[in-house]
Assembly symmetry: C2
Homo-oligomer: 398 residues x 2
């Protein structure tokens, strides 16, 4: 298949691009390198040393013999160039990762709130308009988030895959309806993914676009079989307070001798997936697209759920790290249960990569290898959900 990967230079996009290339697909990355530029703005870097995109692609050609194309393009603002690329490449499949993806960054200040909405909504909408306009009938897979559902809405009922069956009372008796699961986003970032859902729903209905929305959990791990083939292909490892995600942050903190930073009681239960499964799930989604005229297909892209404090305790035991309970910069429930339906990917052949000591050690070893690159002043999460909320001072000297 000819596949475009929008946002193909990022943490999920890069390993997905290589995985699809390795499987024999003809891959072109579209990316404006915004993730690297936000590093510049935040004065932080991936713990792992990331090579420029040109060098990454040359290295992949060397080790695999395969070409991956690259177009530097901002799909949120360069609509006409996006149309030209679509007409030129005639993709059969498109993966859309081209959104600002950090909840803390989306709550950092007014500029980042506005950027997250302006970038994400326009990126998605431009893509949909361009597909409708060019008539290119590509299977589109978009990276959503479990956060569209919120946490704790359903009690102990499993969160369904996108759609919820409800009953309502009418003068003609009880009606049963299948609805898009009500949106309960916890940040401006998550909110943009709930807006995306409504954009997808409309363009599937009005223009027959074939769209799959992948509501992913928190990704952990760094390497896939492809990114591990050469140091120049290494994937990002974000550990800072805005872009670092919980389990990878714990692994890095253990590696540099920093206490594991638990916000509040750590009673938050979250869904997880290893980066190796992310790339497999995207492939499965592209190979099983909806038909023209179908509603948006939704998968929950998660393999396990864990309570944050349980993860911290597991890591502390494994690594002799200490745990620090810090003020929570987010407005969220102190404790929540989480039960997620995840049958669809399993039924389509996903063999899930579950959390194991071996995998944790592999990831910790990467963190350990590059620990000298860590800036410990960037570890504490300081983007607060409302002005005036308390944050922690640095816990260690740099």
């Amino acid at each position: 298949m000819r596949v475009l990967v929008l946002g193909g230079d990022g943490f999920c996009g890069w390993p997905t691009s290589l995985y699809l290339s390795d499987k024999g697909h003809d891959v072109t990355i579209l990316d404006n390198l915004s993730r690297r530029k936000i590093d510049v703005e935040l004065e932080v870097e991936s713990l792992t040393p990331i090579k420029p995109i040109g060098e990454r692609l040359r290295a992949w050609k060397e080790v695999s013999g395969r070409e991956v194309g690259f177009v530097n393009l901002d799909i949120a603002t360069e609509y006409d160039r996006l149309v030209t690329v679509l007409q030129d490449k005639q993709p059969e499949a498109i993966v859309h990762f081209a959104e600002q993806r950090a909840a803390p960054y989306s709550m950092r200040n007014t500029a980042t709130k506005r950027y997250t909405v302006d970038n994400n909504i326009r990126a998605t909408h431009n893509l949909l308009v361009a597909l409708a306009d060019t008539g290119i009938d590509a299977a589109l897979a978009h990276l959503g988030t479990m956060g569209v559902y919120g946490y704790g809405w359903s009690g102990s009922a499993p969160i369904p895959e996108g759609y919820l069956t409800v009953r309502l009372t009418t003068p003609d008796g009880e009606l049963e309806r299948e609805i898009l699961h009500p949106a309960n986003p916890g940040s401006v970032y998550h909110m943009t993914k709930t807006l995306d859902q409504l954009l997808f729903s409309f363009y599937a209905k009005n223009d027959g676009l074939r769209i799959t929305d992948l509501h992913q959990g928190i990704v952990w791990g760094t390497q896939t079989d492809q990114t591990a083939r050469d140091d120049r292909l290494i994937n990002r490892f974000d550990y800072d307070g805005d872009y670092g995600t919980v389990l990878n942050r714990f692994l890095m903190q253990a590696a540099v001798g920093h206490p594991l930073t638990v916000h509040g009681t750590g009673g938050q239960t979250r869904a997880f997936i290893h980066i190796r499964d992310t790339v497999r799930c995207v492939q499965i989604a592209l190979e099983n697209p909806p038909k023209r005229g179908d509603k948006v297909k939704v998968f929950n892209q998660v393999t396990e759920t864990y309570r944050v404090r349980d993860l911290a305790e597991l890591l502390a035991k494994l690594t002799d790290a200490t745990i620090a309970n810090l003020p929570n910069p987010r407005r969220e429930a102190v404790e929540n249960e989480l039960n997620v339906s995840r049958d669809k990917f399993l039924s389509l052949g996903l063999n899930p990569t579950l959390l194991s000591e071996g995998l944790l050690e592999e990831a910790r070893d990467i963190a350990f290898k590059y620990r000298d690159r860590a800036d410990t002043t960037k570890i504490i999460a300081r983007s607060v959900w409302r002005e005036g909320m308390e944050t922690s001072p640095d816990l260690v000297d740099n």
Copy 2:
């Protein structure tokens, strides 16, 4: 109250501004005059002759003795100036009409689809971010649309005011939940209002903003007591295929001897409200805002429902006009029922202006008075929901 009216130069915004001024409020209009500029682009004009905003405001001062302020500002793109105006004016209430409001225009071409999303979502989001950032605790009333609910979803059950009570089955038994009514928008324009709802919901929850969303039906009529006081204050009367709405279009068509243009069978049932009630409803909403921490308050701002063909037959009888059944440029149900809850405004004192021969004749007389300004080549609706859909040729010579 110090009130800002965003979009206060438009069809609903202008009479609302004068009404609130007449009631003694200190009104400032923020508007980028986009509605006038779209007239230039579409090569059409309001049937009624609209004076420049400066002349409108001078005339209002003359006849009422009251000042209405004006700031030419694009809230979708000029965030910093918006913040400055908010800090300067310290409004106690804000009415947000500043969105592209025509469904056909929003489906006209790729540029208008993109403009509608970019303008409407950024306008709304900038406003919310600015309120959260400045801490200005104004009551915000936003003009939504009945179209967020879609048509025909609820069978004969009345469409509730924003929130729907549903039941779901869980392992712990049946749960009852109140949810935002599922979104079923019929155009890109309507879709933007469903996105607005999610923006409002998040900022009410995270930042305690006090927001009321007014899901309005199709507005008809032209004048209010205030706009009728002087010819220079006259309100817009749009009749073209993009901005004209059904009942006003029928009135204008009757006045110029054009057949009444019914799309499809005319089996569409829609909700209506007279412009005089629009302005009253906005005032009632501002006087009854939610409290800080409340969820978004939603009113259905409609007074009656009619089937389009019944309206056409009523007008044809009243005016000896003929009826033309034309191809429908929209993708929508051929026929639908519509039952709308509208108790909230009634309980807060709205005395609804119902469709009557007297009011229809008043509106038709305005159309008749200005019929020489009509360009009959602009009457047929030609913005189609999908490329290739059939439209009608002109029915009369200009």
